[in-house]
């Protein structure tokens, strides 16, 4: 994956968020505080605006810039989580202008680990982890089986979509939805949804 595609991906994700802003907020209204769409929109509008100044830098610098913008402009839970995702992702690919399948895997895995460490959520807690973790596993497996970038990402995104829907019956254990206990059942997690959209845009840019 070329640097240009990384920039396209971030741009596409920002656009996707704008299109799904109300939808994400609606999901958050049901089991949270009705701001996930706004939070993501605020962050990625600023993040993409900051890309121009680093477009000629390496992918690591680009992702780090995104990370810093998210951390200082989003707030809430998604700010530090997505911020940490991009921060950790950036550190393992410093200096690169193109990513192999292995780079991509390392990047996604580092991002996921960062989110796990920052948020302390586990699989099944009804958070973005429930999309990111199975998707990274699927990608890892596909790459292990020698599949190419596109096919591996296709499998990862299919898994992500399925996993996003799997959050519906879960009882939330982390984040705001956890205050609802049993009442969180029956609603799809907003953060899981935005994480799926992020991966979907990544696939579409490949």
């Amino acid at each position: 994956m070329k640097k240009q595609q990384i920039l396209q991906w971030l741009q596409a994700f920002a656009t996707e968020i704008e299109q799904n802003k109300d939808y994400l907020t609606q999901l958050d209204a049901a089991i949270g505080d009705a701001d996930h769409g706004m939070n993501m929109s605020r962050g990625f509008q600023k993040a993409t605006a900051s890309l121009a100044s680093v477009a000629d830098k390496d992918i690591g610098t680009i992702l780090k810039t995104v990370s810093m913008t998210l951390i200082s402009s989003v707030g809430g839970a998604s700010g530090p989580l997505y911020g940490t995702f991009f921060l950790r992702a950036s550190t393992v690919i410093t200096g690169k202008h193109e990513l192999t399948e292995e780079d991509m895997l390392e990047m996604l895995q580092a991002g996921l680990d960062g989110v796990l460490q920052r948020g302390k959520a586990q699989l099944g807690d009804k958070t973005m982890i429930d999309v990111l973790s199975p998707a990274v596993t699927a990608f890892s497996q596909a790459v292990g089986e020698g599949k190419g970038m596109h096919e591996a990402m296709q499998l990862a995104v299919a898994k992500a979509e399925q996993s996003m829907k799997n959050t519906i019956p879960m009882i939330a254990k982390k984040g705001r939805a956890s205050y609802l206990g049993e009442r969180s059942v029956g609603n799809q997690d907003p953060g899981a949804t935005s994480s799926y959209l992020m991966l979907k845009c990544l696939l579409e840019t490949l």
Binding site: T25, A29, A30, I31, G32, D33, A34, D35, M38, N39, R42, I71, S72, S73, V74, G75, G76, A77, S78, G79, P80, L81, R118, G119, Q122, D125, K173, K174, G175, R176, S178, Y179, L180, G181, R183
Partner: protein
Amino acid sequence: MKKLINAPVDFVRESLEGMAVAHPDLIKVHHDPTFIYRTDAPKHGKVAIVSGGGSGHEPMHGGFVGIGMLDAACPGEVFTSPTPDQMLEAAKKVDGGAGILYIVKNYSGDIMNFEMATELARSEGIRVLNILIDDDVAVKDSLYTQGRRGVGTTVLAEKICGAATEQGYDLQRVASLCRRVNLNGRSMGIALTSCTVPAKGTPTFALGDREVEMGIGIHGEPGRERMSIKSADEIAQMLAMSIIEDISYSRTVREWDEDKGEWVDVELMNHAFEKGDKVLAFVNSMGGTPLSELYIIYRQLVEVCEKHSLQIVRNLIGPYMTSLDMQGCSITLLKLDDEMIQLWDAPVKTPSLRWGI
């Protein structure tokens, strides 16, 4: 949605600008990053208290910046935790050399952002401790979950700890005091209507004409249970009893350990209220409920406390921690000891809480 606002995106900034011009003697507002701080900060040699959280809970926290309470407050977007850079810059601005206490409400966003800020401030050589407020008995489970939300006790902790810093308490002592206040406080709230977040423009949840949400938080998040409206006396009893009957509650929270120089898990335990306890009773409006109704709730609360031999020795009644325009109220009971009473009574002069000065 009908509100006295301009563009929803300007809501927080413009409200802060209004606040700044209204109280220049007490506070200043810094933008980019946004924080509110005491006009006379930093106070040399005094521990500084910094709090923060999403906007929409006014006067909490910004209205409590001033003499005898907060040194700074970091407002986020509506119902959205502020960011680490706000907290870091606020800490730098008010640091009088004796360290900073971050008072943090237990929401995943607030915790993560304040933890990042703590790490950043520490790396810049500022002594920071963080204490979590998690007092909402509406949230039952604690194992493996986020635990309880931070609500009404936050206001009381800010007042009491703010007074302590004015009296020269050092950082560790203020931190233990704050932890103790949190362990002595419990809250429960009810919503009669949903709030409307300006950027969303429609109510967060829909309640029927005779429905209420029991056990709500302060962000328009749904509560534990939807039920049909009851009399004020029944509601006061339900709120008070869920607090009074709440058994001892333990959980693990992360605090910064200064000796180890790292985050440590601390096991904390609230003890249930006991007969004879002296308490502060706090009846809080969620924003749209008028004072007349709060007094009706307080009237019944006094009876319930008498019946359970809890002695109300102080009270606070009004809109102090709101949820935008939501109608409803919350009750907080805080077990007081003599030290806390003296600190509660100490002078305070902020835009929204003032006495003795």
